[in-house]
Amino acid sequence: MRDNGDRGGLDNAVIEFEQVDKAFNGRRVLDKVSFSVSRGETLCILGRSGTGKSVTLKLMIGLLKADAGKVLVEGANMATLDEDGLVKVRRKMGFLFQSAALFDSFSLNQNLALPLQRLDRTKSPDEIKRAVAETLRQVGLENDGEKMPAALSGGMQKRAGLARALILKPEILLVDEPSSGLDRITAGEIDDLFMKVKTERHTTIVMVTHDIHGARKIADKFAVLDEGRLLAFGTPEELEGKQDNRLQQFISEC
C-alpha cells in the first residue's frame, strides 16, 4: 500500500491530492487520500461502486470542494479559487461524464460548438464549424452532427461526449466510467480513442473505470480506492507484484 505521505514525481505533478477528506451527510467518502498525477500520465482509478471514484474526479475539476486537505491542479488549490480562477483552470481541462451529459436540447454540432463559441472568441463561425466537423470525424461521428443526443446510441453518446471534452484541446482529460453500459466491442473502440488522445496529444488522463481490461490497455498507473481510502497506487506491474489478496481481488475483479 502506498504511503499517504509519499508523493513521488511531484516535480512534474499536474494534479495533487494532499490528505483529502470528503463526506456526504456524515458518511465519509474519501479519507485522507493523497496521490499525484504527472504531466502526460494516464491514471486509472479503480474500486468498488460508492468508494468515491467519481467524487475524486469532481474534486479535481472543482464541482465539489474537499472538506479537508488540498486538491491542487497545476499548483492551484481548487477549494480556494474564485470564479475567475476556476474558469482559468477548467479551461485546461476536459470532462467526460458517465452519462456523457450532452445538452439534450442542442444538436451534436451545437453541443460541440458551445464551448468554442464561449471560450475561444478568436474563432470565426466558419472556423468553429470546421473544428466541430474535424473533432466529430476524429470520434467517428462525422455524419451525425445534425442529430439530437436522444437519437444517438449509448456508444455514440459517449463518443460525442468525448468529442465535446476534446474540442478545446484540454491538457487534462477527466473521464468517468467511459465503458459503463457499453458492450465489449464498443468499449474497446472508446478505449482506442483514449489511446489516440494519449499518444497523439500527450494529454494527462485521469479515468475512473470498472473495466480492468480497458484500464490495463491505457493506464500508466492505477489508484485503487477501497472504502474511501487509497488502498494502492502505482504502475500496473508494481501492483500485480504485491502480495495483497484484497488488492489482487480488485485488480482482477474490477
Binding site: 477548467r90 461524464f97 445538452f103 439534450d104
Partner: protein, 254 residues
C-alpha cells in the same frame, strides 16, 4: 415543518435576489436569452389567445343577462375591458404561465441537474446560473406583460364576438364603448404587475429545478412545486399588488 417552510422561503429569496443582481452584470447570455424569450413568448401565444378569447366569450355571456336586466347593456363592452385590464388578463396570464412555463422550467432544469448537464456546463467554464437561471428570469419577467396584453386583446375580441352574435353590435362601436372612460392608470399598472408574476414564476421554478438532486423523483417534485408554489405566490402577490396600485392610484379604488 414551519422551520423548513421559512428556510425554503429564505433560500428562494436569496436565489431570486442573486438572479436579479446578476442580470445587470456581464456576460450577458444574449443568444440564450432570445431563445428563452421565444420559447416563453411565442410558445405561449396560442394558449393565451385561446384562453383569453374563451374567457371573453364566457364573461360576456354571464354579464349580459345581468346587465340587460338593469338596462345597462351598453356598458357590457366597458365592463368587459375593465374586467380584463384590471384582473382577469393579468391574473389568468400569470396562472397559465405558472402552469406552462413554470412546469417546463422546473422539469427541464431538474432533468439537466439529474443528468449532469448542469455540471457539464460548469466544466466547460460557463456559469450555469447565468446561462440557465438569469436568462429565464429576464425572459419570463419581460414576456408576462406582453402576454397579458395579448390576453386582454383576445378577451375583448371574445367579448365582441359574443356580443355581436347577441345584439349585432358593430366592432367600431364595441371598441368605442370598451375604451370609453378607461384611463391609462386602469390599464398600465395592472399589466405591469405581471412582470412581478413573471419574476416569481421564473425564480421559483428555476430554484426547484436548479437545486434538486433526486433523479426522476426530483424532476417530479420540481415540476409540481414550480406550478403549485408559483400559482399560490401569484394569487397572494395579487392581493398585495392590487393594494399597492390602489395606494398609488387612489382613483381606481373608488
Amino acid at each position: 415543518m414551519l422551520r423548513s417552510t421559512f428556510d425554503s422561503i429564505g433560500r428562494v429569496t436569496l436565489f431570486g435576489a442573486k438572479a436579479l443582481r446578476d442580470a445587470w452584470f456581464p456576460p450577458f447570455e444574449v443568444e440564450y436569452l432570445v431563445t428563452q424569450l421565444y420559447e416563453i413568448g411565442v410558445g405561449s401565444f396560442l394558449l393565451v389567445v385561446a384562453s383569453g378569447f374563451a374567457l371573453g366569450v364566457v364573461l360576456t355571456l354571464h354579464t349580459r343577462s345581468m346587465l340587460v336586466q338593469f338596462g345597462a347593456a351598453a356598458d357590457i363592452p366597458v365592463f368587459q375591458s375593465l374586467a380584463f385590464f384590471n384582473e382577469i388578463g393579468p391574473l389568468v396570464t400569470g396562472l397559465l404561465m405558472a402552469g406552462r412555463v413554470g412546469a417546463g422550467i422546473g422539469a427541464q432544469l431538474a432533468n439537466m441537474r439529474s443528468t449532469e448537464q448542469i455540471d457539464a456546463i460548469e466544466t466547460l467554464s460557463i456559469n450555469s446560473f447565468r446561462l440557465l437561471v438569469v436568462t429565464r428570469v429576464i425572459a419570463c419577467t419581460a414576456m408576462l406583460p406582453l402576454l397579458a396584453i395579448v390576453m386582454d386583446v383576445a378577451g375583448i375580441l371574445g367579448g365582441f364576438v359574443s356580443e355581436h352574435l347577441s345584439s349585432h353590435l358593430s366592432w367600431t362601436l364595441y371598441l368605442e364603448r370598451a375604451f370609453d372612460g378607461v384611463a391609462p392608470a386602469e390599464f398600465i399598472p395592472p399589466t405591469l404587475k405581471t412582470a412581478v408574476y413573471g419574476y416569481f414564476i421564473a425564480t421559483i421554478s428555476c430554484f426547484y429545478g436548479y437545486t434538486t438532486n433526486e433523479g426522476s423523483e426530483g424532476v417530479r417534485k420540481a415540476a409540481m412545486y414550480s406550478v403549485v408554489i408559483s400559482s399560490l405566490v401569484i394569487i397572494l402577490a395579487d392581493v398585495i399588488l392590487v393594494k399597492c396600485i390602489f395606494f398609488f392610484f387612489p382613483d381606481q379604488a373608488i
